[in-house]
């Protein structure tokens, strides 16, 4: 029988770890930032001049900054360098940079999404040319630095990571994670790239009492992400149940769920982000649309003063539970605007 992996599914340990990291000395953050910059420079040094000119953009290149999508790169072309055009060592240097920027758990999630697209390519046969691990792009805006702001982008079909580095801060918003298929087998193991996002949400909605569920569950269908690609700078009116109406255990479950997105970036940046989200918890809302039995397709949204998360099953492909789109935003700090002021 295939073994199921939830990619760090024991995230209560993770949450405790990142909250502890918040107490770690500043030197630790500084060393993480230095390591990320060193990895970025190693990657850039592995490229020839022509490749470097393709991968580097001005930090203030607003068009490049917002050039991301859930759609395949053949349909919405990305700029930067394509993984399939890199040599083995260059590709390794690119992935090392990603690994240095993300947490272990976040890096594994990203790999699971990329490999899922490879699985989609194989399953699609002749129509698979628009999918696969070779069609993901990397780009760098600005000059990697521990002082000045710069940005790393990595994405393709069903993935858009926009990581703005401002000194020791790493801002992951806006980013899009998605999966199709949402469950596949790799080396004998069942992989669910967004399995924890699904299971923890169902656990939370089922932990609500009847009165709370009545508040949380919307009476209408939500066909897609509301604040997906192209919706930068927008905030919608919140709905559902306010976290101030949840008990401590339910609030902890919600924070664990949020950690699935906030914890993609490296532990130091994630810890700072979780502290901020926790501080705003009383003004955060949880809304649900769809059945509450795990295994059925359901949409949910978590929205707070500095947070928007949406999880939206897609009907395309036949089984909505096998095709998921998610978005992660901070309306006050997407692309690090709060720190940079652009």
């Amino acid at each position: 029988m295939a073994k199921t992996t939830f990619l760090w599914s024991s995230t209560s340990t993770f949450l405790a770890a990142i909250l502890c990291c918040g107490l770690a000395p500043a030197q630790s953050s500084s060393s993480v930032a230095s390591k990320i910059v060193a990895s970025a420079n190693s990657f850039l040094n592995s490229l020839d001049d022509g490749q470097r000119s393709k991968v580097l953009f001005e930090f203030n290149d607003a068009a490049q900054r917002t050039k991301w999508s859930n759609l395949p790169t053949t349909m919405v072309p990305r700029a930067g360098l394509k993984m399939g055009d890199l040599s083995g060592p260059q590709r390794k240097a690119a992935m090392d940079l990603l690994a240095a920027t993300l947490s272990k758990r976040g890096y594994e999630k990203v790999l699971a999404i990329v490999e899922g697209d490879e699985a989609l390519k194989i399953a699609s046969g002749g129509r698979g040319a628009m999918f696969g691990r070779d069609l993901f792009y990397i780009s760098i805006l600005g000059k990697p630095s521990v002082k000045d702001p710069w940005m790393l982008q990595f994405g393709g079909h069903h993935l858009a990571l926009n990581i703005t580095m401002v000194g020791l801060d790493g801002i992951l918003t806006p980013s899009l994670t998605a999966a199709q298929p949402a469950k596949y087998t790799l080396d004998g193991k069942t992989v669910r790239p967004l399995g924890a996002e699904n299971d923890k949400a169902f656990a939370l909605v089922n932990a609500l009492d009847e009165g709370q569920r009545k508040q949380a569950i919307l009476n209408y269908k939500v066909a897609d992400l509301v604040l997906g690609p192209g919706q930068d700078g927008k905030t919608i009116q919140p709905e559902g149940i306010k976290c101030s109406a949840m008990n401590a255990s339910q609030q902890a479950m919600l924070l664990e769920l949020v950690g699935e997105w906030a914890g993609i970036v490296n532990e130091q940046a994630a810890a700072a982000r979780m502290v901020e989200i926790k501080a705003n918890l009383s003004g955060t809302w949880f809304a649900w649309s769809g059945p509450t039995t795990n295994g059925m397709p359901a949409y949910y949204r978590i929205q707070g003063p500095t947070l928007v998360i949406e999880y939206a099953p897609q009907p395309l492909g036949g089984d909505p539970t096998m095709h998921i789109h998610t978005i992660y935003r901070d309306p006050t700090n997407d692309y690090g605007k709060k720190l940079i002021g652009h």
Partner: protein
């Protein structure tokens, strides 16, 4: 209607030919932005790959396979006709602000979005929006944008199950409210009746004058012995 039906059949036969994109739905996502000086309604219309033939039957009546500027304008007018905004229970006419049509090629691949922006200067405290455009083939999203910097406070949001309609109450916190409207605009719903009464009064005056003229002429002719 028959042509749309045939195109529906063609579209449905295509379902399953693609795997990664919106296929058999026309996604109509509406954002409503309530501002102190009016209300903007922005509708993003994204046809799925299999829905394009259905949509083209609507947008491209001359069947030449392209969308001309005149056809764009006609389609936008139709969309504007088939949505309704009511403010405080009274229809608020929406005027055209701008639209954008993607390349047909992008729509063929299921990633082209038609954007239509409409606006009304009307404001109040209760809003209702309904989208009646192509309900047979559409999935809907409708939301109200938050605008804390304007002091906008929204409450009692209600939608139907398909999100074709939304209604909510709104207000602006002190110092950020809608610009005061002239008192006479409060009588807006009664304008047709008022205009009708004025016309009636004017006609009565004219009839009275005509009759008085006739009578005077009669008296004058009698006094002249004619």
């Amino acid at each position: 209607m028959r042509r749309i039906g045939l195109n529906m059949l063609l579209a449905l036969s295509l379902i399953g030919a693609a795997e990664a994109h919106r296929l058999d739905e026309y996604l109509q996502a509406t954002m409503i932005e309530v501002k102190p000086d009016g209300i903007d309604v922005e509708i993003h219309l994204t046809p799925g790959v299999a829905m394009l033939p259905v949509l083209m039957a609507v947008i491209d009546p001359d069947r030449d396979g392209r969308i001309s500027p005149a056809e764009e304008r006609a389609y936008v007018r139709r969309v504007a006709r088939e949505v309704e905004l009511r403010v405080d229970g009274v229809p608020a006419p929406l005027s055209f602000i701008e639209s954008n049509f993607p390349a047909l090629e992008a729509m063929r691949e299921g990633l082209g979005t038609i954007a239509v922006k409409l606006r009304t200067a009307r404001n109040g405290h209760e809003l209702r929006f309904e989208n009646r455009h192509l309900p047979q083939v559409s999935a809907y999203l409708v939301n109200c944008l938050a605008a804390p910097s304007d002091g906008l406070v929204v409450s009692r949001q209600k939608r139907d199950e398909a999100q074709r309609s939304i209604e909510f109450e709104y207000s602006f916190s002190a110092g950020a409210g809608p610009r005061p409207r002239p008192a006479w605009t409060a009588l807006e719903p009664f304008w047709p009746a008022a205009i009708g009464m004025l016309l009636l009064a004017r006609m009565s005056v004219l009839i009275y004058r005509a009759k008085r003229g006739e009578r005077a002429a009669k008296i004058s002719s009698q006094s002249l012995g004619t």
